[in-house]
Subunit: 200 residues, 2 copies
């Protein structure tokens, strides 16, 4: 069984969202699965000293332009969120709650959450907003609410965030292919070649 692509992303990350629209096709091309692993960039920033892009002079303005341009370039639907960035703890917990029961369905939920935030301009940071997206995806609101409030789910989320950072994830998306780390939606072409050739 070949290694899955490890896909680390933050639900608040535009480049993570862009990669999420491309990674399944890339993996399928090389007969790989994708291990979806949301994490919290804010926690990684405590290690790296990073700050959210919009707060950085020059670089922040550039990236706003680049996010929109890159999405269009790749044919990915994109509406820059009115509220940006956001805390993504609630969507992250909802993901890991569902992942424990049904990983395939959790992947579909991750896409629905990303679509809500980056296409439909829904601020998914609150528990209520996350639950609403889950409900629209066919999950039972009450179950989601108790799931994301469950201490075991909170603990799993914390553990997964620590594991992501332990794997080196300092940004989003951060993708590991056969042990080799790639950062950014602009490294998908290198991942494609890495999987095709076994690396260089």
């Amino acid at each position: 069984m070949p290694n899955p692509l490890e896909f680390y992303f933050d639900f608040s990350s535009p480049y993570g969202y862009i990669a999420s629209q491309k990674i399944d096709e890339l993996a399928a091309k090389h007969r790989r699965e994708v291990l979806w692993r949301p994490f919290l960039l804010g926690v990684a920033f405590k290690t790296t000293g990073g700050v959210p892009l919009p707060s950085i002079p020059l670089k922040g303005e550039y990236h706003l332009r680049d996010m929109i341009r890159t999405a269009k370039y790749l044919g990915v639907p994109y509406h820059h969120p009115s509220v940006f960035p956001i805390s993504s703890v609630s969507p992250c917990r909802a993901f890991y709650w569902l992942d424990a029961k049904d990983p395939k369905r959790a992947q579909a939920l991750a896409k629905a959450l990303y679509r809500a935030y980056f296409v439909e301009d829904i601020d998914i940071s609150s528990a209520d907003a996350t639950i609403a997206v889950c409900a629209k995806s066919g999950l039972k609101a009450d179950e989601v609410r108790s799931g994301i409030g469950d201490q075991a789910v909170k603990d799993r989320t914390r553990t997964e965030v620590e594991k992501a950072i332990g794997r080196g994830a300092f940004g989003s998306p951060y993708i590991v292919a056969d042990g080799e780390p790639f950062w950014g939606s602009d490294r998908l072409d290198q991942i494609d070649k890495w999987l095709a050739t076994g690396g260089w």
Copy 2:
């Protein structure tokens, strides 16, 4: 006369070096000239709060790997410098000294300086090392020495660095195509399409 590609780069920047190996061909494909504009990333960092990559936990280690991998991926000769990063004030001044007299030859010198640092592992930060590269490129050592010590050349260099940052250059390479800014050697594909289509 179509606009030239404005190519802002730091002589200490691996991704700037990688772009320098590709930009002439890209520009020629679209019948554009390239305006080579070295600047000092350290000065931009005063505006952005940026720090040199090697000093950033996780991100620094990642980028060392990515620089080498990306150069190989693109077929660009690369030897990671033993001393990295370096101050690039001397090579920058040598460039602008020559640029005032002969812009085409200054481009060739920029390539020679980049090759010395990123292929031959010569630390080009000192005036002496910069002068040695210039001499090897057929320039007269005495003239270079007096050129890079000349107040007018120092002033021109400072002005060009300020102009680059005024244009938005927060990283290297930073390339402006018909007014549109692109950051990173991984944006050359977008620049190619931008020039071919007029933008999107």
